[in-house]
Symmetry: C2
Subunit: 150 residues, 2 copies
């Protein structure tokens, strides 16, 4: 699978998120080398606290594939997901998580805690990190600059 | 706040879930002693892997209150929530979680792991457990009996 290519789709979606006043969190769900869902954070737009990119993308993928079990799927995200989003990946039975930048605030795939590979839980995710990290870092730096601007 | 009363609402909602072929997971969101949302699991019905009772109830509460921040809310659930659902409670800034029975499979409020009061994360939940536990256990026993029935 071409990790750089699909992460490029996530980065493009994250640009869209930034334009719309959301943080540049974006997710792309891939099954058999085909993109089945692509989404960005929509918490600001919808006031839905669960509308993180990963959750929105998983719901879209499940709707399109007509199943709650995405066992063959790999998800590409611009930033390491939070506990809710890693939990949603486990519930969806997603096989692998690929992310660009670590999340020092509440990253739940190894940075703040490791929920994606926790021995006590019934499911585990394969994790790949650092794909196109520089580009993602640049996006998050722009988001931070916007927040601190007057 | 009358914990038994609101847990009774959750138990009634869980009965409805059982009738509809879902597990008896139900959630009630309470703000200022008023019920603002009530939901049960809808994963079977909708094929949405994120449609656990807690997530459905939080989305409904946020829609009704027109905010993604439910800082004054207490949520009543029939069973200790999974990592996704505890993560969703943290994202929603919910104040307190009240549950009836522990969840030995993937309970993330103390049984399998403690995500609701994890020092490294930016938010924490107050937890009350064991409210109307016997009645909830009876519901889950009925669900298990159904699953193993021929």
């Amino acid at each position: 699978m071409n990790y750089e290519l699909f992460m490029g789709e996530a980065l493009a979606e994250a640009e869209l998120a930034l334009e719309r006043g959301e943080p540049p969190n974006a997710a792309v769900v891939v099954v058999n080398d085909a993109m089945v869902a692509r989404a960005h954070d929509r918490v600001q737009e919808t006031s839905d606290p669960t509308a993180h990119a990963v959750v929105v993308a998983l719901r879209e993928a499940a709707r399109r594939l007509r199943t709650a079990r995405l066992g063959e799927a790999t998800i590409f995200v611009t930033r390491e997901p939070c506990p809710m989003c890693v939990g949603a990946l486990l519930e969806s039975d997603v096989e692998a998580l690929v992310y660009a930048v670590p999340n020092g605030s509440d990253g739940a795939a190894g940075t703040v805690l490791q929920l994606a590979q926790y021995d006590g839980l019934p499911r585990r995710l394969r994790i790949v990190s650092g794909i196109r990290r520089d580009e993602a870092e640049e996006l998050f730096a722009r988001a931070t600059a916007r927040e601190v601007a007057p």
